[in-house]
Symmetry: C2
Subunit: 321 residues, 2 copies
């Protein structure tokens, strides 16, 4: 029986099947450690390097899973999404590999480098105004015109199950009794997928989300139980400016231990530390969990910690250092 689109909270077997399905579209990324950072933090940290993933971010996993589960008829007219970031490139790349067109709605102020990235995978870019409403309106127009299949960046169980394969690999390859696994909280696709993977495959491990104070909607949603928004989004962690969805919030409320918030300077400091000490390039969102390890030493000292480094797509010509 071919895999089909998931319409329920992913089970352990759904995550395993997702992992098998997406093999042709992803890298199995390495895990790195850094003695200097362990000495500084007093924790034993294992970094899952999704900055080395295809398209430079974990988003490839979710898009690949959603696309791989479509029927030939669903796939035939291509894929569509709206995103100014890594999900746009992931959908474009998935469509390219599967041999169908991709239509990506991007705000007209999207960085040229990201537009170029999406186009490099052969996708058609459709520009819109810079509001969420304009994006959705334009996306609906594109779908009406093309018949393309919409892959939401996170409010989709296939995407969540795909992201869950990153912590699954971390568990398999590190083969350690993790006290804590961390992921940043943006739309919640990775954090909810990580929480599910831990729930099934390492139930004694705590899952801790990390988020900038500036966009602490996930923290507030986690405590209030409803989708909270952000009044301003002036964070350097551009991947975390969005808010949770019904599907991701429900999983996070059930399986995440806590969400910790950090200051902007702490994010830049942690990002620079990884660049300088580990010699790898991570984007600001990736640095948020390490910033939380520094900010809340009492939580992490003496612990075995997994951190998912979410991506490495950063404008090299425009750095915060």
């Amino acid at each position: 029986m071919p895999a089909t689109t998931l319409l329920h909270v992913p089970t352990a077997e759904d995550i395993r099947e997702s992992h098998r399905l997406i093999q042709p579209l992803i890298h199995r990324t390495p895990i790195m450690t850094c003695e200097a950072i362990n000495e500084m933090t007093g924790a034993d940290i294992h970094f899952k390097c999704e900055n080395f993933q295809k398209i430079g971010a974990f988003k490839m996993r979710g898009a690949a899973n959603a696309a791989s589960r479509l029927t030939p008829a669903q796939l035939e007219q291509g894929l569509a999404t709206h995103s100014s970031g890594n999900h746009a490139q992931a959908v474009a790349r998935a469509a390219q590999v599967l041999g169908v067109p991709a239509f990506i709605v991007m705000p007209k102020n999207a960085p040229a480098v990201k537009v170029a990235g999406v186009k490099s995978y052969g996708a058609e870019v459709v520009f819109c105004e810079c509001t969420i409403e304009a994006r959705e309106t334009k996306l609906n127009e594109v779908i009406a015109r093309t018949g393309a299949y919409f892959i939401h960046p996170f409010d989709d169980y296939n995407v969540i199950a795909g992201q869950a394969t990153a912590p699954k690999e971390l568990l398999e390859d590190a083969n350690l009794p993790f006290d804590i696994i961390m992921a940043p909280a943006g739309g919640g696709g990775l954090l909810s997928g990580t929480a599910l993977a831990a729930h099934y495959f390492t139930p004694d491990t705590q899952i801790i989300g990390a988020e900038p104070f500036e966009v602490d909607d996930a923290y507030r949603s986690f405590h209030s139980g409803k989708i909270e928004h952000n009044a301003t989004i002036n964070t350097i962690a551009d991947g975390l400016r969005t808010y949770l969805s019904e599907k991701t919030l429900a999983i996070i409320r059930e399986h995440v231990t806590d969400i910790l918030r950090v200051e902007e300077e702490a994010i830049v400091h942690a990002m620079r530390l990884v660049w300088e000490r580990m010699k790898i390039i991570i984007e600001p969102s990736s640095a948020v969990p390490l910033a939380a390890v520094h900010a809340y030493p009492e939580v992490f000292k003496g612990k075995t910690v997994g951190i998912i480094l979410t991506g490495g797509n950063v404008d090299i010509g425009n750095l915060p250092f």
Copy 2:
């Protein structure tokens, strides 16, 4: 019989023994590939990531080997060297691990970040004027005062045998019939070690050095047979500003196929390409071989190529992008 200081051109067994000796002081670094760069160049390139080495550069290997071969009596008074770069950190780190003092002569205009790096390994930094002569005079004073053992950055068979363990690992871990292996040419320690390792362990592989036009002393020495100097050293590849020595030149003349020269802009372009596409941080010297692959496509197209990425110590706050 304990290993002793090498006073002859290293044999295959000397390189093997060096590799065993330095295990406690080095990482076995990973090999990375990049589909996008392979597509651009038409070559199948395997990067040996010495930017992930201890102290952030391959120099750890040579210093570790030289230090590990000293008798307790030779080691007792500590280690000394002059260097403004990675060799300084390597000697400081080797001394720290072996539990002896280190005395590092550095020019007084050395970047603060490099001075701090050396001091972070517990070494004593002795400043001097910025000429080669001043460095040597000051080093002799330090040795007279302390009795420390001088480890030359490259004109030393122990250092050459240590650097040869980087290509040895590349051959063992990639396990491919390389057509070409490349290293940049500075003082020639890595290039001569690479040439020796290839001569013993993969004799059909060509060894190609790479060098900036701005400091093309190795190219000229390779052709003239004598140590050539540079009138100016205005290259971004700060690790390559020095010139060859008698020991490195003799090995390079015997076992290296060619030395290719590249423009400064080509170095910056190649460095940026590695940062953006591979998400790893390399210093400018590391980018010189890839710049040569771009500049001389007829040499590399269709070939299986190994490139040693020499290091990742770069001032993040002062980038050429």
